[in-house]
């Protein structure tokens, strides 16, 4: 394919070379603009799948600027999104069959919601990007459609003051864009609401469990050392014999805190995440204890104190992935729970020392 060199509106895009996701160009009032298809390639779809199921992807970006879908003109809708390729792909796919402009802000490859929280999907970047692509010359509509979650970073009245453009907040999810537009730019209550369904939560579980499993070897090492340490040295047999139940309890806490609590979130009594995690931790530890029935009373104390608490701490981390926990609430939880965690750890260590002293018959 011959390389296309274009006379493009200044600032429309930095790269004159065709981006891989562009199909061709369309003529606009300000010059040529890359046209992108609404159909996603297999690679795009795989990218979406990965973004939804695994961790956030670094460097999955598109070039900020203006793009065309279909054959838009001066009266066409202008949809604003982030330059995280996932966001861009979801938006262009949602506009299938339409002719519209897509204005991509430079959010450093971060999705709308997070970028709006940080302020990169924000008033200043929006105003700058609008002027770079000469949106005022391109559009007779003087209206732009933003994703609703962008409102966290963008102030509609300030944009209007600076550019004369009216900001309309579209639905939370791009998939509702067409319905929103055909309803005369009206969103239903459902389109406006951020849900947190069981599917959403289950998709997040691996991201909670994996970081904890990475920390698990440290815990396992300490537990094995603590049990294996004998006056005559570190004994493998006592390490395994005494340590095994603790290794199981540790895994149990990860499971109840990082998987069970998120999955059953609305069904666990108490609103506090620390409390929810602790409740699930008690249940989990209790069930596991029936597997290891012969327990020394001191070890029993440690088990009941430490493992539900670990589950509680792990569950508290899930506040970062929810769509409904606020900072004041998390602050409040941390203020009460962190001292409890510290004391529980200290007491557990003390009890373990007492246990070892008795075991070694030092006293």
């Amino acid at each position: 394919m011959p390389e296309i060199k274009l006379t493009i509106a200044p600032g429309t895009f930095k790269a004159l070379e065709k981006p891989p996701y562009a199909a061709g160009t369309v003529q606009s009032a300000t010059g040529k603009v890359w046209q992108v298809p609404a159909e996603l390639t297999t690679a795009d779809k795989f990218g979406i799948f990965r973004c939804r199921t695994s961790s956030f992807r670094d460097n999955y970006k598109v070039e900020p600027g203006l793009y065309a879908i279909g054959q838009p003109g001066g009266a066409s809708d202008i949809i604003v999104t982030a330059n995280y390729k996932y966001s861009f792909d979801v938006v262009r796919h949602a506009l299938k069959g339409m002719s519209a402009w897509i204005l991509v802000l430079d959010t450093k490859g971060i999705n709308v919601w997070c970028a709006a929280g940080k302020g990169t999907f924000g008033t200043a970047e929006l105003i700058k990007r609008m002027s770079l692509v000469h949106l005022e010359k391109l559009s007779e509509r003087k209206t732009i459609i933003l994703p609703q979650l962008g409102a966290v970073g963008v102030s509609a009245h300030e944009v209007r003051k600076a550019t004369g453009f009216r900001v309309v907040y579209g639905p939370v999810h791009a998939k509702d864009l067409k319905a929103f537009i055909s309803a005369g730019y009206k969103a239903t209550k459902e389109m406006r609401t951020m849900e947190f369904t069981i599917t959403n939560r289950m998709a997040l579980v691996p991201m909670e469990v994996i970081p904890m499993l990475k920390k698990y070897p440290f815990f396992a090492l300490i537990a094995l050392l603590a049990f294996g340490l004998e006056p005559s040295g570190i004994l493998f047999k006592s390490a395994l014999g005494g340590g095994l139940p603790f290794l199981a309890f540790g895994l149990g806490s990860i499971f109840t805190g990082a998987a069970l609590t998120p999955a059953l979130l609305p069904f666990i009594p108490a609103r506090s995440f620390a409390a929810k995690g602790w409740i699930m931790g008690v249940v989990g530890t209790g069930l596991l204890m029936s597997v290891f029935p012969h327990f020394n009373p001191i070890l029993l104390g440690i088990t009941l104190l430490f493992f539900p608490m670990a589950s509680s701490y792990i569950a508290l981390q899930f506040t970062g992935s929810t769509t409904f926990t606020g900072m004041s609430g998390v602050n409040k939880e941390l203020k009460t729970s962190i001292p409890i965690y510290l004391v529980s750890v200290a007491v557990s260590v003390l009890l373990l020392i007492v246990y070892k002293i008795i075991e070694w018959r030092i006293l």
Partner: protein, 98 residues
């Protein structure tokens, strides 16, 4: 799903409110409602303190202590200083958070 009760820092000054309805449009949790020609806080416990309503009220009628409701972010800000922010790019899905 609701988080802790009566802790959200959201405040609405009815005197400044002109009833334009913008805050209702941007709130992702239906926290606000129109009552007559004023917006009112209908569900304080539903507020996640995202700040969208405050940023988009042209009349300065809403204040909220905007921030991230994420334990790891807040713990990091206590340990290392600075505002809590969701900079932990190794996590969270692209759909709802970072």
């Amino acid at each position: 799903m609701k988080y802790l009760s009566k802790v959200a820092s959201l405040k609405l000054n009815a005197q400044k409110c002109v009833g334009c309805g913008m805050c209702l449009e941007v709130c992702p949790h239906n926290v606000l409602r129109m009552e007559g020609r004023k917006a009112v806080i209908a569900d304080l416990d539903g507020c996640m303190e995202c700040g969208a309503c405050m940023t988009n009220c042209a009349f300065g009628a809403i204040t909220v202590n905007k921030g991230v409701g994420c334990a790891a972010a807040i713990i990091n800000s206590i340990l290392y200083g600075g505002e809590p922010s969701c900079d932990c790019s190794g996590g969270k899905n692209g759909d709802s958070c970072c």
